[in-house]
Point group: C2
Chain length 328, copies 2
Amino acid sequence: MCRRLTALILSTALWGAPALAADPLAAWNEGPAKKSIVEFVEKVTANGSRDFVPEPERIAVFDNDGTLWAEQPMYFQFAFALDRVKVLAPQHPEWKDKEPFASLLKGDLKGALAGGEKAIGEIVIATHAGMTTEEFEKIVKDWIATAKHPETKRPYTEMIYQPMHELLAYVRAHGFRTYIVSGGGIEFMRPWTEKVYGVPPEQVIGSTIKTSFEQRDGKFVLFRLPEVDFIDDKTGKPISINKFIGRRPIAAFGNSDGDLEMLQWTTAGEGPRFGLIVHHTDAEREWAYDRQSSIGHLDKALDQAAQRGWTVVSMKTDWKRIFPFGSR
Amino acid sequence: MCRRLTALILSTALWGAPALAADPLAAWNEGPAKKSIVEFVEKVTANGSRDFVPEPERIAVFDNDGTLWAEQPMYFQFAFALDRVKVLAPQHPEWKDKEPFASLLKGDLKGALAGGEKAIGEIVIATHAGMTTEEFEKIVKDWIATAKHPETKRPYTEMIYQPMHELLAYVRAHGFRTYIVSGGGIEFMRPWTEKVYGVPPEQVIGSTIKTSFEQRDGKFVLFRLPEVDFIDDKTGKPISINKFIGRRPIAAFGNSDGDLEMLQWTTAGEGPRFGLIVHHTDAEREWAYDRQSSIGHLDKALDQAAQRGWTVVSMKTDWKRIFPFGSR
């Protein structure tokens, strides 16, 4: 009995030691960015710390496009919309002579986008409205399970950043609740965020279109209407955080000027606060872009990071690896 | 040592036994309503049950006014608005000659309400907008801590239904997450729902007014604008449940036609579902009203309850006591 107990204790110690020592942020290089994260998490969670924050207030908000997964060469949700235009084209013979659809169906993306925001809006509405919420969920699930990134040929759900994936798990292990606060569609994200990021539907906030409650074929449904309800970007982010969560987060993570107000709102609160910007600096392993880019435009927020003490992560130097696949 | 241990075990057993046997729904009379609740909770939570529902899907939604707390002789939030009109009147000399404020300030509620929904809207906007979200939170906290119900002279937070209070705790003890889904203002409820009901801010859904993100006196704030954003009533309830939670609840609790669509949406889902209506039938201990009442109007939902198998709770016969104070 006693020998077995000793053996058990020894084996637990042997197995336990490496597990305890394993770095939960292994994809991060040692440096000031990683250090700032660990220091913040430790000071708000250590018992007796003067910066201690009770668990219910440990709210961390994360942008999605460019922060948790890639956003080049185009926002992935827009790739979804373009795929849907192709699928839906046979039901819309009028699209052959109607922009932006006519150009799209000829494979001329540049021509389609010549119509600017109006054209993008028409593409989004044509592909995201006119079905029940349950039908849309199925469409998204089918697409995300099969679609491939045009350059890496990987499923989009593998185009996530390994260091951020680790960071989500790391803060959750310290009693944080992690929310996604994205300009992307709330119902485009919810079908897969739990599986991919460990973030359940009720912790996903995003842009919405209006819905109506109806009875169709004897069933109660929510029907997606061709009208924008709310754009969850820029000032929309603190507004929706307040509306959905009703608490001010203590940590915010973004990568573009669309996240500026969320970072301002989060880090201006009293007590310990943390802001972080993912800077896309690695043209070799990912993409390099910031002030001049229309996708993931990062200009004002980069200037404010220094003034406001936000951590700026250089993907090139701070991240040991970028994606979960491959070796770097 | 051994005697002390035995004593400890005995005393634990003596103290523990009544605690274990205590009825978590003690304020409910034995009868079909109580039985239906217990049977539903047991069948969705028992391991191996063919109706088993995993914890993340155990979402229960509760209306507030008339379901969790009383709503007579007027919605409590409207009492708050009337109190605010009095407080704000010195800053609004023009109200002396402007309806509905002129009548209100003379104590003529009926005259003020002669203006119908437009008048109510003006009173709500005048008292709920024009300050930051943090300022409004403080106003609500101060009011709820001091205001008294006009008839019982009790704080409004004591005008909650003891049986529903037990029900909230009971389903939570069985792994449910409890949400409030109310026509009341989301920021009118959040400052006190956790303390009073055990429902944290992020599980409170309600009507909203628009806010703007601004920098005032060097501070980032959300400012409450004089414009309605969303009315969380009738068809608005399933719409907001889908928007905020992203899951269809498995149980819904209401008391009026404002809850009809929430009950329909919840109980029309696949698998085990539960719908319940609190019927105000007790003129002696509370108030008796339904089809003819403008407050808590209950007509269509009462008719549909029988067809759809929803539990109808008669406050008079199903509830042993109504409020936490007093003896009945």
